[in-house]
């Protein structure tokens, strides 16, 4: 399968994964009186993200789209598979997006081949059930602190591509999306995408699956103000204090950003289409 059948009346879509699929970095727009985004984030957070956006695009073409999102930030691949897969299989979805492994790869000693083998078993279970599966590679982070891990990530992504080939799954290749290498596609934590990044990913998923959209994922960014060296370095220092050190602290103490966080949309519920 490479294109989704838009002639159908009804589609059940389940999103599985970690913070990327949960939508961290892309706060949900809240109704007046519902509190602030910051407060919502502190409460466990309500994020929109590329998966919600993609579901909305689907709903613009298919009368009934039922959508569940079981993704939870910080989850390792084995947690995604253990916590989210049984529920997903029980929903008998038509379409599943599955993106996980990034949190594993950031840890010392991570093995991209072992991770890929776990992922492939899960994909085969979904495919055996007749479900269409969408897999993802990640952005080619050719600069910054991720550079040293690039080869490890590339090995995992390459394995994911091979899995997609072997299982007849759809592959969304973020690696080749050079628009996502712009800092504006990322949050200040440099680990999660901004709302704009999520918007473009959703458009790319639509493009890959043949869902028509008005906007384009590869639209060039507007010209950016050049950032002077001092501002860039003070931003680096803020990032180390606000994000890197707490992240290292969580790793050392065995905690996760997702501890106690529940899936934001645990059951398939109908999606309202985007107002055109």
């Amino acid at each position: 399968m490479s294109m989704i059948d838009l002639g159908r009346d009804r589609l059940t879509y389940v999103a599985l994964g970690d913070s990327f699929t949960e939508g961290v970095g892309d706060p949900a727009v809240r109704e007046p009186g519902e509190g602030t985004d910051a407060q919502a984030a502190a409460d466990g957070g309500l994020y929109r993200g590329w998966a919600d956006r993609f579901a909305e695009h689907l709903a613009a073409h298919i009368p009934e789209v039922h959508y569940a999102n079981l993704a939870v930030r910080g989850k390792l691949l084995r947690q995604v598979l253990a916590d989210q897969m049984p529920a997903a299989l029980a929903m008998r979805p038509d379409l599943v997006t599955l993106c996980a492994g990034g949190n594993d790869l950031l840890r010392p000693g991570a093995d991209p081949d072992l991770l890929a083998a776990q992922l492939e078993r899960a994909v085969r279970r979904l495919r055996d059930q007749g479900c269409d599966v969408v897999l993802f590679t990640g952005v080619n982070i050719a600069s910054g602190f991720m550079r040293v891990l690039l080869g490890r990530f590339a090995r995992y992504y390459l394995n994911v591509r091979s899995i997609a080939d072997r299982t007849g799954s759809v592959l969304v290749d973020q690696w080749s999306m050079s628009v996502l290498r712009d800092p504006r596609a990322w949050e200040s934590d440099r680990l999660h995408m901004s709302a704009e990044g999520h918007r473009r990913v959703a458009l790319r998923v639509c493009d890959t699956l043949g869902v028509p959209t008005v906007e384009r994922w590869d639209e060039p960014w507007p010209a950016a103000d050049p950032v002077d060296w001092r501002t860039a370095r003070s931003a680096d220092a803020r990032w180390v204090g606000q994000f890197l050190l707490p992240w290292v602290g969580r790793r050392l103490s065995g905690r996760s950003s997702g501890d106690g966080v529940q899936p934001k949309r645990p059951d398939p519920t109908e999606v309202r289409s985007l107002p055109v």
């Binding site: 690039l150 080869g151 590339a154 090995r155 992504y157 390459l158 591509r161 091979s162 080939d165 290749d173």
Partner: protein, 269 residues
């Protein structure tokens, strides 16, 4: 990735571009020992033989030469392929670049991308190859990440230009020592045979056998024998290879393409 369609009652032309991998090292023909620089069959000749069974006439050229870098393949072989206007092109390039210290996968991919654009502009169906995962090869293991980055670029190039991909990275069966010649850098005849089967599969041509077929049980190699083999390999292959790199020479200096023109392939036997 679109399928490869061809007319069984017509003429099919095929051009192989690349380095030693596509030239066919080390899958020697019986006359190889008596031929200057050797005479190799390789997966590309094997693929051509298989294709010749499928069509009225197969015309085949192989411009690949051992040791060639991506830039040489794109500047020397691609223009010739453009003149030949074949229906099918296979291109495997970048391996020699990646092995060099400082070889930059981003730069190599940019060069290959230019070559692919030109080939696709002729209307040819193009087949690309990812590089092998050297997990089984201790000397090369540190290059895994670099090869993976290059492969990710290659796969994106294949997507962008609608090329077929032979994903050698995923062919775990090639991790067996029996898929390799003694120099540990080139495939054995059996390795080439399996790769040819895989290329057939990708092109939608019945390969007639399964490239995944498990290797027969192999006798355990004694530790001392394994170390002797390591020493021989280092002496006879690794040291000369490093020497060539240091002096800017290549194994392909003075070697010409084995099959420079499109000519009908006659299948013996």
């Amino acid at each position: 990735m679109s399928g490869f369609a061809f007319d069984r009652d017509g003429v099919l032309s095929y051009v192989a571009l690349g380095d030693s991998f596509s030239e066919g090292l080390s899958d020697p023909y019986p006359d190889s020992a008596e031929t200057p620089h050797g005479h190799f069959r390789g997966w590309a000749d094997r693929l051509a033989e298989r294709l010749a069974d499928e069509v009225r006439e197969l015309r085949y050229a192989n411009l690949a030469v051992r040791g060639r870098l991506a830039r040489q393949i794109v500047t020397e072989q691609v223009p010739r392929a453009e003149q030949l206007q074949p229906d099918l092109v296979t291109l495997a390039a970048g391996g020699n670049d990646i092995l060099r210290p400082g070889g930059d996968p981003d730069q190599i991919a940019t060069i290959v991308d230019q070559g692919i654009s030109r080939l696709r502009a002729t209307g040819a169906h193009v087949v690309l190859f990812t590089g092998i995962d050297p997990e089984f090869q201790p000397v090369m293991r540190p290059l895994r990440g670099k090869i993976a980055v290059y492969n990710m670029h290659l796969r994106a190039i294949a997507d962008a230009h609608d090329c077929s991909v032979v994903d050698l990275w995923a062919m775990r069966v090639l991790g067996d020592a029996r898929a390799w010649s003694w120099d540990r850098l080139h495939h054995s005849s059996e390795g080439h045979r399996r790769i040819a089967l895989r290329v057939c599969e990708v092109l939608g041509v019945d390969p007639g056998a399964d490239w995944r077929e498990p290797w027969p049980e192999s006798p355990q190699v004694a530790w001392a024998d394994a170390r002797r083999a390591d020493a021989r390999w280092a002496r006879e292959f690794l040291v000369p290879w490093i020497g060539r790199r240091l002096t800017g020479r290549s194994s392909g200096d003075g070697v010409s393409p084995k099959r420079p023109d499109l000519a009908p392939l006659r299948v013996s036997g």
